[in-house]
């Protein structure tokens, strides 16, 4: 029982980080029908921003966590904005395959550029302690191991997700985003500037991934290399597909399913954690090709 609960809790923790990444994939796909493969690398840049900025923030503000996560979100949001403007906008009305290949190119560029000796270097880094990790005693004798880092991961993710839901559902720009996702020409007839809406999706999604990067660094305490985004990015992408790509609640649901199944699989065998992602993906796509919450949308002619 204790073991079961422990894995469930671990799964929710890692699922929270996947959710922050998956939201960016799904938002961008929903609006421009592009799988932004470079999104995983934006997450990586977010994590490195934590490494570089935390000491500065600690000196300037005293506490490091909040200013660091805000700064990382601003920087990754800016990176997303620039990426769309330079790489994807010129291809907006070209074949979708061109944009997809470009996304792969941007991803490889970010990884290898960041690995250069004068950028982040490929070296292993110890992530600074943004908060002092502490175990929280749980009454009862289940032997649960819950740390304040876990609460931080889940808490920050939930706060950001609630903010995102509010933004998308209640603000004018959020409604505009959903209108643009549904029908671009008609959205422009409403007076909506499509460029502004697309840029917004490319700022908000990457900012969430940046926050995910900070939580990732805080949780694992290390940054392996500028290629560290690949696996979490892939799993978050699968989570978005699992939930129904383009669907925001779907991405969150998919991410938690992914995190929890991974935690259970890893507790059986540490290599199984990777395999389970693809097993789930194949299983779901066989039964529901549009994902759990996705609607089947025939291509418009």
């Amino acid at each position: 029982m204790g073991q079961f609960l422990q894995q469930l809790i671990n799964g929710i923790q890692i699922g929270s980080i996947y959710a922050l990444i998956a939201l960016g994939y799904t938002m961008v796909y929903g609006i421009v029908r592009l799988i932004n493969f470079a999104h995983a690398d934006i997450f990586m840049v977010g994590a490195y921003m934590g490494f570089f900025l935390a000491p500065v923030m600690a000196r300037v503000f005293g506490g490091a966590f909040i200013p660091t996560i805000i700064a990382a979100m601003l920087i990754t949001g800016l990176l997303g904005f620039i990426m769309e403007k330079l790489a994807y906008r010129p291809l907006r009305y070209k074949s979708r395959l061109s944009a997809l290949i470009t996304a792969l190119g941007v991803s490889l560029f970010l990884e290898n550029f960041c690995a250069l000796p004068f950028v982040f270097t490929p070296a292993f880094r110890k992530f600074p302690d943004l908060i002092v990790a502490r175990n929280i005693p749980i009454p009862g004798n289940l032997g649960l191991n819950i740390s304040n880092v876990l609460l931080l991961d889940v808490g920050v993710s939930v706060i950001l997700m609630v903010l995102l839901f509010w933004f998308v559902n209640k603000t004018l720009i959020g409604k505009q985003m959903r209108a643009v996702a549904f029908d671009k020409p008609t959205a422009s007839l409403m007076g909506i500037n499509i460029d502004v809406v697309i840029s917004t999706a490319f700022i908000v999604g990457p900012a969430l991934a940046g926050a995910g990067g900070i939580l990732y660094g805080t949780t694992y305490g290390m940054l392996a290399s500028p290629f560290l985004g690949i696996w979490p990015g892939l799993k978050a992408f699968i989570a978005a597909v699992l939930g129904g790509i383009g669907n925001i609640p779907g991405a969150v649901l998919g991410a938690y399913i992914m995190g929890i199944s991974e935690a259970f699989a890893t507790s059986v065998n540490s290599n199984l954690g990777y395999g389970i992602a693809f097993a789930i993906l194949i299983g779901i796509l066989l039964v529901r090709p549009s994902g759990l919450l996705g609607k089947f949308m025939p291509e418009k002619v």
């Binding site: 959903r178 422009s188 409403m190």
Partner: protein, 235 residues
């Protein structure tokens, strides 16, 4: 002259959908373009609203050349288009559909009274305001599409096949509302396959055939024209 279309060509790929089309709309008029399916009626409206680009010729609205203006700016300059097939945002609620129409409105203070006007024209929309619009009936969706256009509070409205897919009772109702909107001071350019209904409410009309305007006149002249009668009014 509120709108002047001068000699425009519009292409779909290599197909010339409009061939040197010219016409005009005066302030306060209801002008109707009638023609068969595929004649280029919707293409004409889309060229005016900026969704399609005229490759030659020009479109002048209220003294401004809007031939190359992007659609969201044309909407902000005073032209609302109610697109063919309604084009409502099916993933949004009725209220949210009306809200996004305000994207073209500078003075958001007018939104409240304007929404009251829309709801008094279409009480049905008020009842259903929190419903996901994709689940509305065809008639309700058409009302939402027109209501959304009215939310923009623009002086000039382009209506693309508002009667399409509606029952005869609803067709009567929607044409009554178009007349009412015109009486409230809006200029209307109406594109219709239902030539009889369109010419019964319009002041003037044009007949479009395979991308060219072949006839023009007052609605009465067109109704009495033997060719128009034969081709579009069922003898």
């Amino acid at each position: 002259m509120l709108l002047e279309v001068k000699n425009i060509d519009v292409f779909y790929g290599s197909i010339r959908a409009l061939k040197g089309v010219s016409f005009s709309v005066e302030k306060g008029e209801i002008v109707s373009i009638i023609g068969a399916n595929g004649a280029g009626k919707s293409t004409t409206l889309r060229a005016i609203s900026g969704i399609l680009r005229a490759t030659s010729g020009s479109i002048i609205y209220d003294g401004h050349d809007i031939t190359h203006t992007p659609p969201h700016l044309i909407a902000r300059m005073g032209i609302s288009q109610v697109p063919e097939g309604r084009g409502i945002f099916g993933n949004l609620t009725v209220q949210e559909n009306l809200d996004v129409a305000l994207s073209s409105v500078k003075d958001k203070k007018t939104a409240g009274p304007n929404q009251d006007k829309v709801f008094s024209l279409f009480p049905r929309l008020k009842e259903r305001r929190h419903q996901i619009s994709g689940t509305l009936s065809g008639g309700e969706q058409q009302m939402l599409a027109v209501g959304r256009g009215l939310m923009q509070n623009n002086p000039f409205m382009l209506l693309d096949e508002p009667s399409m897919g509606l029952s005869p009772v609803l067709v009567e109702e929607i044409f009554g509302i178009i007349l009412e909107i015109n009486r409230l001071g809006k200029t209307i350019l109406l594109v219709e396959q239902n030539a009889f209904k369109a010419l019964s409410i319009a002041h003037r009309g044009y007949v479009l055939e395979t991308g060219s305007l072949v006839l023009s006149g007052t609605a009465r002249e067109l109704r009495d024209n033997p060719d128009v009668k034969k081709a579009y009014l069922g003898g």
